[in-house]
């Protein structure tokens, strides 16, 4: 397997973990809200996991752009 494929697999694996957290905690928040309970803690965890996913995504994009020689700031 080429290095780029290994990196891609790694990227998807890393991204899948916080996305699982987002899904699970949002589902919990929606169940809590439906029961009239406070969902803020579950929403907070989901938000943190989403932030983690964004960071991984941006890091992945930076890596991709650097290998193609483009700048991350270009329009």
């Amino acid at each position: 397997m080429s290095d780029s494929l290994v990196a891609l697999r790694r990227f998807f694996h890393d991204l899948a973990t916080p996305l699982s957290g987002v899904g699970l905690h949002l589902e919990r928040a929606s169940r809590l809200a439906a029961r009239g309970e406070d969902p803020s803690e579950a929403i907070g965890v989901a938000r943190r996991e989403l932030e983690r996913a964004f960071q991984l995504f941006e890091r992945g994009r930076e890596a991709l752009l650097s290998t193609t020689g483009e700048s991350s700031g270009s329009a």
Binding site: G21, G23, L24
Partner: protein, 417 residues
């Protein structure tokens, strides 16, 4: 249900733990293989949800270790990196499901509910097994005789499998009851059980009944009809009197069994079906093959698990138990206050040959019940129903006879007061 989650990512771990609790189970979660080993000892989980990659080991290995101490444990593997090798390894270790990250809550719920439903079915099978040991009853089947104990044992084994079953036995021995019991004890218990008697319908119509037809496919087909195979999809189809099916149709049935596809009459496409087939005949299958009534290739396909039912005459010790069972059933429906048996009446049942087997016994009990006119079923009522039995010598009293006769004595005593 106790569920142990083994996942190193804290947010996923806690999310899973809370989601499993929402689904009504007890959940505990740990982050390493080492912690999992301790939790398996303390918490004694029934289900494990394990991540493949753990900081200090392999999640599938954790599950394998958990199964060594309790082989009934179930497992779900989760991973962010799908690979054929790890999926095969997980299946070999005995895990029930393999979930890919990112986990979707709805997907997790489906997998988890399927698992808990299967476990509760298995526990129902266990309780039926206990019931059998205590009362000689398995589903709607009843018997304490050696031939029936063997049949019960075969049914329990067969129920766990999806393989075709061929039930043979004389008319009235309970072939359909056996088929229903197999279905009820199987993992398909909550899915349809569809019974079809191939001898009860014109041979020309059997194909469209079994496989369905499209509108306009033949004269009179004014609308589309779903066949029994499609109706039974996901469940069990019971085909009685299989040898009454024409040879051409037997070839089509063989094809369905092999390809797991059916085609409605007049259709141009096949439909995939998942049906467990149980078939039955009151003929000797080998003789039916010689007579050209049953194709040999179909016979081998149907006869993966053969069950030969004994006649009632071959298990006479079950007659009093069955008679009392039927009396109670009829009393529940008709509520005429027929509370038991005169022991002499039960002995008469024992003297009859029962060529019509259990079905004949049930009919006789029903007629005796109606004629008893309240109270208990007496000998004179049976003498009119079974004149041959009245003149035969009585066999030695058997244990079940004595047991069934007890309530009658109480009933007689209470009337004297």
């Amino acid at each position: 249900m106790r569920v142990l989650i083994v996942e190193d990512d804290v947010a996923t771990r806690k999310g899973l733990e809370l989601a499993i609790r929402e689904l009504g189970s007890q959940a505990r979660s740990v982050g390493t293989a080492g912690e999992a080993a301790r939790a398996i000892e303390d918490f004694k989980p029934e289900i494990l949800i394990v991540d493949v990659h753990l900081p200090d080991g392999d999640g599938i290995e954790v599950f394998r270790h958990a199964r060594e101490s309790d082989p009934t444990r179930d497992g779900v593997v989760i991973t962010g990196q799908a690979s054929v090798d790890s999926a095969v390894e997980a299946l070999r270790a005995g895990v029930s499901d393999y979930l890919l990250k990112p986990l979707r809550p709805a997907q997790l719920e489906v997998v988890f509910q399927r698992l808990t439903e299967r476990r509760s079915l298995e526990s129902e099978v266990d309780s039926l097994r206990d019931e059998l040991l205590e009362t000689g009853k398995l589903g709607d089947l009843l018997g304490l005789s050696e031939p029936m104990k063997k049949i019960f044992d075969v049914i329990r084994r067969v129920a766990r499998s999806n393989a075709p079953v061929l039930i043979t036995g004389a008319s009235g021995t309970g072939k359909e009851v056996v088929a229903k019991t197999i279905h009820r004890l199987s993992r398909r218990a909550s899915t349809p059980f569809v019974a079809f008697n191939c001898g009860a319908i014109s041979p020309t119509l059997i194909e469209s009944e079994l496989f369905g037809h499209e509108r306009g496919s033949f004269t009179g087909a004014d609308k589309r009809r779903v066949g029994y195979f499609e109706e039974a999809n996901g469940g069990t189809l019971f085909l009685d009197e299989i040898t009454e099916m024409g040879s051409e149709l037997q070839v089509k049935l063989l094809r369905v069994l092999e390809a797991k596809m059916v085609r409605r009459v007049g259709a141009s496409q096949d439909l995939r079906v998942d049906v467990r087939l149980i078939s039955a005949t009151n003929r000797d299958p080998q003789q039916a093959i010689r007579e050209g009534k049953l194709r040999e290739d179909l016979y081998y396909r149907l006869n993966v698990f053969p069950i030969l039912l004994p006649t009632l005459a071959e298990r006479p010790e079950d007659i009093p138990l069955l008679a009392e069972h039927f009396r109670r059933q009829i009393e529940e429906q008709e509520k005429a206050g027929v509370t038991g048996w005169d022991p002499a009446a039960l002995q008469m049942l024992d003297r009859h040959d029962w060529p019509g087997n259990v079905r004949e016994l049930r009919n006789v009990v029903h007629r005796a019940y109606v004629m008893a006119d309240g109270g208990i079923i007496r000998k004179d009522v049976l003498e009119s129903l079974l004149p041959g039995a009245a003149v035969k010598a009585a066999p030695a009293a058997r244990a079940p006879l004595a047991r069934v006769a007890k309530p009658e004595k109480k009933a007689a005593a209470s009337r004297k007061r």
